[in-house]
């Protein structure tokens, strides 16, 4: 667990608390609660959180050796199976932590934004589990392309409020949830879904997600006798990314360490951290229309202030925020967590990107070769592995941030637009007269 000062809002120059005044007392109250309950385990908060993560969430998740991929790349590939967490994605780690924290703080109502619907789903589940009323804001574009998650949220008892401004994706949903919070701050907690937003959210969400790398690091040592050479994770806002990286950040020695460590000493060395962003359809920006057909914030964005934090952004030359794009709704965001922006500037995290086509191909490959259907977000990490496995060393951990059931409609539609050799033939559906899934 991190020992950061709960009252230090910065990561180098990034981070901070750029929010309307009406929200300042709430985030100060939250920073105080974060310090007491999360960092100092007051009233046994962290014990209860860990117990619920195990019993309700199903932790620990396995670190699985991927036989086919390892043979294909001549590299030991391990999958950190966050797709097996309850709800099918890493999102529950954070949602459960924050809803529980809201209870400890005496809040009576939960609100959250969602992009792909995974965070909304996790929050709705956690709120039902902990008996809290819950409302989710979701852009109308995302509602249309993530219908299964809308059903799940409703079935768990959450209200789903469509956001119609702008392009109706995650960026607008976050703004709208902040507006709700500005009105209801006295009795409501805003469960933000990633390591974004004003302090203390980026640190707190990272700490709730850090269980991923805490487990993965121990599991890797247990299974291989040493540290992995690289950890690869997809990055949108960056919560699975920082979760997968957090406990490896200090493994920053000069050399890789996968030379095994038979002496039983604590393994040392460098673990490379690779954040794979959505390259979308192109990295070229259309200033005129204010559109970036990608979500490659770490690779191509520059510094600015959005949604409460100074971070890297996709913005035009005036500072207006661009409409981002990715085939994967969960990566479709014009900002990124300030801690990741900082780690990229420091050279500790390497930002790379994978385009829509390569992600779709990787989706099918993992499904066919390993029997794991990944979320489209996750597929970006495997797209990078396919192209660049030579650079990642002998042992690679890839974070399987979520499962792909929610994306099947999108995948089939997007695959049929492209000529992908690897894609399965779906014509059987036409032969039996059905169209839907």
């Amino acid at each position: 667990m991190s020992t950061d000062d709960a009252h230090d809002p910065k990561f180098g120059e990034y981070g901070g608390q750029y929010v309307p005044e009406a929200l300042m007392p709430a985030i100060e109250e939250l920073a105080d609660a974060y310090g007491r309950y999360v960092l100092e385990n007051e009233d046994g908060f962290m014990d209860e959180f860990r117990e619920r993560l195990a019993d309700f969430g199903g932790r620990p998740t396995p670190l699985q050796y991927a036989e086919q991929l390892s043979a294909r790349y001549d590299t030991d590939v391990y999958l950190k199976r966050e797709d097996l967490l309850h709800g099918g994605a890493h999102k529950l780690n954070n949602a459960l932590g924050q809803v529980l924290l809201a209870k400890y703080m005496g809040k009576e109502r939960i609100i959250a934004e969602t992009g792909a619907g995974q965070h909304g789903t996790a929050t709705a589940m956690a709120a039902a589990h902990l008996d809290m009323p819950c409302e989710i804001y979701m852009g109308e574009t995302d509602i249309a392309r993530q219908r299964p998650n809308v059903f799940r949220m409703r079935i768990n008892g959450a209200e789903v409020n469509p956001v119609t401004v702008g392009r109706g994706t995650l960026k607008e949903a976050i703004s709208e949830t902040m507006r709700d919070w500005a009105t209801t701050v006295e009795n409501t907690h805003y469960v933000i879904g990633s390591i974004v937003g004003p302090h203390p959210f980026p640190k707190m969400v990272r700490d709730f997600q850090a269980v991923i790398s805490e487990e993965a690091r121990e599991q890797a040592i247990e299974k291989t006798g040493g540290l992995p050479d690289s950890v690869v994770a997809c990055a949108g806002g960056g919560s699975n990314t920082m979760g997968a990286f957090a406990e490896f950040v200090s493994d920053d020695g000069a050399e890789r360490s996968s030379a095994k460590n038979p002496s039983g000493d604590e393994p040392r060395g460098r673990v490379d951290l690779v954040a794979v962003e959505a390259g979308g359809s192109s990295l070229t920006v259309d200033e005129e229309k204010g559109v970036a057909p990608n979500s490659a914030t770490l690779s191509t964005g520059d510094e600015g202030v959005l949604h409460g934090a100074r971070t890297k952004l996709l913005q035009d030359s005036d500072g207006q925020i661009m409409e981002s794009h990715s085939v994967s709704a969960g990566l479709d965001y014009a900002g990124v967590g300030p801690e990741l922006a900082h780690l990229v500037d420091e050279g500790r995290v390497t930002p790379v990107n994978v385009d829509d086509d390569a992600a779709l191909e990787a989706f099918h490959r993992l499904s066919q070769d390993e029997g794991v259907i990944p979320a489209l977000e996750t597929a970006h990490a495997f797209g990078y592995l396919e192209e660049n496995h030579d650079e990642l060393g002998d042992t690679v951990v890839v974070n399987v941030s979520g499962r792909g059931d929610k994306d099947l409609e999108t995948v089939i539609e997007e695959t049929s637009k492209r000529d992908l050799d690897i894609a399965p033939d779906m014509s059987i559906l036409n032969r039996v007269g059905g169209g839907g899934i």
């Binding site: 005044e21 007392p25 770490l298």
Partner: protein, 292 residues
């Protein structure tokens, strides 16, 4: 420094409009109509794509303004083109202020490169604003904790920096703002985002009471839409009233109905007059301060 002067003789009426809503030319006429109607300070919105503190009325105004081509440079031209004799305050979000000095270095490449972080911060924007005659700023997403660089630039060019005090603002936060505020303080009448409402909130009186020892004028905003509202608020001790959404509604309706620029400007001027007169009446109802 000098926005205080607008509050010196009688309670001030401080209207807001988004510059460029629904287009450049009409917007010039509308802002001038507010001045005709008795505005003492005008808050001009420079639209940002993610206005997290605004309700639907002003969000829509911002969309109309952006779609009609408003940018920071156009905004500065707009201020120069305005024919008003009233102090102007720029209301915008911090990213636009922060990025301004970078525009030239960044606009020449299709793909922004990662290493063009702003070196100068808010200074170039403030310098340009001062040059065109802006006298102060309201920045809803910039709390006192993050305001140091903007405050410095404002001091350098002699501009005021207005802070928003919310019903939830207490203790240390009030102290920090009191140290940095100048011109006037924007007292947020209720929780939530901007937007016209039908009643006056009790939180207003409580907020004014908390600020009783501040030596800058106190202007109350959020939800005011009639002369009676303005009157009650000034009677309760405010030095001025800030009105945005009720005026933006007139612009929006005129735009939707295809009304002439003159007709919309007349309506704005007449509501402005009603609000100003309400504020003046409110001052007369106030218990007279006991002076020695």
């Amino acid at each position: 420094m000098g926005l205080e002067r607008a509050f010196a003789d009688e309670p001030a009426f401080v209207p807001y409009l988004a510059a460029g809503d629904p287009n450049y030319e009409d917007s010039l006429a509308y802002v001038e109509a507010l001045a005709e109607g008795g505005a003492d300070v005008i808050e001009l919105g420079l639209p940002f794509s993610e206005p997290i503190a605004e309700g639907k009325t002003i969000q829509d105004a911002i969309v109309r303004s952006l779609e009609s081509g408003m940018t920071p440079d156009r905004f500065f031209e707009f201020v120069e083109d305005l024919d008003v004799d009233v102090p102007l305050v720029c209301m915008t979000y911090y990213n636009l202020i922060y990025q301004y000095g970078d525009s030239e270095s960044r606009s020449d490449s299709g793909t922004a490169s990662g290493d063009t972080a702003s070196q100068e911060g808010p200074r170039p924007f403030v310098e340009k604003a001062a040059e065109v005659g802006i006298e102060g700023f309201v920045v809803p997403d910039l709390p006192a904790e993050e305001a140091g660089p903007l405050r410095e630039a404002c001091d350098e060019f002699g501009l005021d920096l207005v802070f928003i005090v919310a019903p939830t603002t207490r203790g240390d936060r009030l102290e920090r703002m009191m140290e940095q505020v100048s011109g006037y303080v924007y007292v947020q009448a209720r929780l939530g985002v901007t937007g016209a409402r039908d009643d006056v909130d009790d939180a207003t009186e409580a907020s004014l009471a908390r600020l009783s020892d501040w030596d800058v004028p106190k202007a109350v905003g959020f939800g005011i839409k009639t002369g009676e509202h303005a009157e009650e608020i000034v009677a309760a001790g405010a030095d001025g009233v800030i009105v945005g959404s009720a005026l933006v509604d007139i612009v929006a309706e005129g735009h939707e109905d295809g009304d002439s620029t003159e007709a919309v400007a007349d309506r704005l001027e007449s509501l402005a007059r009603e609000l100003k007169q309400g504020a003046v009446r409110g001052a007369q109802e106030r218990p007279q301060p006991e002076r020695t």
